[in-house]
Assembly symmetry: C2
Homo-oligomer: 239 residues x 2
DNA sequence: AATAAAAAACCTGTCATACAGGTTTGAGGA
DNA sequence: TCCTCAAACCTGTATGACAGGTTTTTTATT
């Protein structure tokens, strides 16, 4: 396919951008699915009549968005959707003060309220078990913030998975990066033993409600969870 | 707020990944803000003791996520958050059948229901005017689907902006790419003149409710909008 | 001295070439 | 038919070159 030289669009210009477009089109036209291999860099550079450098930079761009996957020696393959890129984008937004943590919590509350509703309705027994186990793991890791946080993150991601909507999963995943950096702040602001136990209990309540298939209860508990979290962050003076 | 690095590439190996991490760290340590310039490729390649090739590929990766911006002749600059990358990621997910359109609509409904609530409360008079104008523009473009669609997209984005939460704006923007590809399907499935007029009217109702500062009404109208849209897509047989 | 014009210094985009490892393929043998 | 292994192919990285842009410095002018 020939690409036309239209304008000096901020993004549309440059051989690399053209190559990105051509590769994306190639994936769609050939209906490539995750795991399928793309042409080699040399083949593409001949096809598009550009140097290998250009193809490589295009590949890197697509790999950054996790649209394709690169492996040394192997050909590039179509990738599964993954929240890695989104996570970095959000982190960048926060670090450059274009997004603040409260705004993220508002979005998370909105999303996760919906998620527990769906999870309570759709979760498989397997998923219910996983969710309960993660909440329990949190309770058991009360003394180890590091581990506690990871279980917390896994817990929310497991709920998203149980919602059976990969977009919810993607969004929840997108917040993991920045959450890893802010979670400790919220944790430290819970100074009393009681406040910490309450947080754990709330997670257990969510897990139980989802396992019981009770959306109402699940939403209520999740709502409480976010009230607590936002309160803790405000306490810590997080803008 | 102080946050620490969690530069944990899944592709931990490879000089390019390391360079990406180093550049990201550089941005954070120097607290660079959007518009600020980064070191030149040559300077970085000396600093990191890698070839310019590696630095360039790292730059391309960051540019793909819109974390930095590249310009010929000029130095790379820190970028404003932008939904371009997310849009491509979502499109990829749909094209590879990892996400279906209904799932996107469920997420959009969840998000946009919250958005209109916030917009009704927070919108400035300026924003209210813009939103009303876009809804009116839709009504005026009844005969030109192309334009109608663009006004529709702008309408939803304007609402997100009025919510005063850039993360909502980001997410709504992230769906624009795929929406551009599915919107015509929904439109064509509205065969009767009445169905089409109803869609326009619903948008006007949303705009009026937001302008009137009535969250309740706004939510109700938005909910109706999504009922209609999902119905239209099902009618068209979209999985 | 202030300013405008011109030149030098710097930068990015792209190409070509080279080479060190991985990976895939295919020919030939068991 | 199945296995082995070397040839062919591929990616990651480095180096050097050169054509435009851009920024900074210098020089000329008012």
């Amino acid at each position: 396919m020939q690409v036309q030289d239209t304008q000096m669009e901020k993004n549309g210009a440059g051989r690399v951008s053209e190559a990105i477009g051509a590769i994306t089109r190639h994936i769609r036209e050939h209906e490539l699915m995750p795991g399928d291999r793309l042409p080699s860099e040399l083949a593409l550079s001949k096809d598009l009549k550009v140097s290998r450098t250009v193809v490589r930079e295009a590949f890197r761009s697509l790999a950054a968005m996790r649209i394709i996957e690169l492996n040394v020696g192997k050909r590039a393959t179509v990738a599964n959707i993954d929240h890695g890129a989104m996570s970095l984008i959000i982190e960048h937004g926060v670090h450059t003060e274009q997004i603040n943590v409260q705004q993220i919590y508002d979005v998370r509350r909105t999303i996760e309220t919906r998620i527990v509703t769906l999870a309570a309705i759709r979760r498989s027994d397997e998923e219910a078990k996983t969710i309960l186990k993660l909440a329990q793991a949190m309770a058991d890791a009360l003394g180890s913030p590091e581990q506690l946080m990871e279980h917390d993150l896994s817990f929310h991601l497991a709920l998203a998975q149980a919602s059976r909507n990969p977009v919810f999963e993607l969004i929840v995943g997108a917040f993991q990066g920045i959450t890893r950096q802010t979670w400790p702040i919220g944790w430290k602001s819970r100074t009393s033993e009681q406040a910490r136990q309450t947080m754990i209990d709330t997670h257990l309540r969510i897990a139980n409600a989802v396992a019981a298939g009770d959306p109402q209860q699940a939403v209520e508990a999740m709502s409480k969870h976010f009230d607590e979290s936002v309160h803790a962050l405000l306490q810590a003076g997080l803008s």
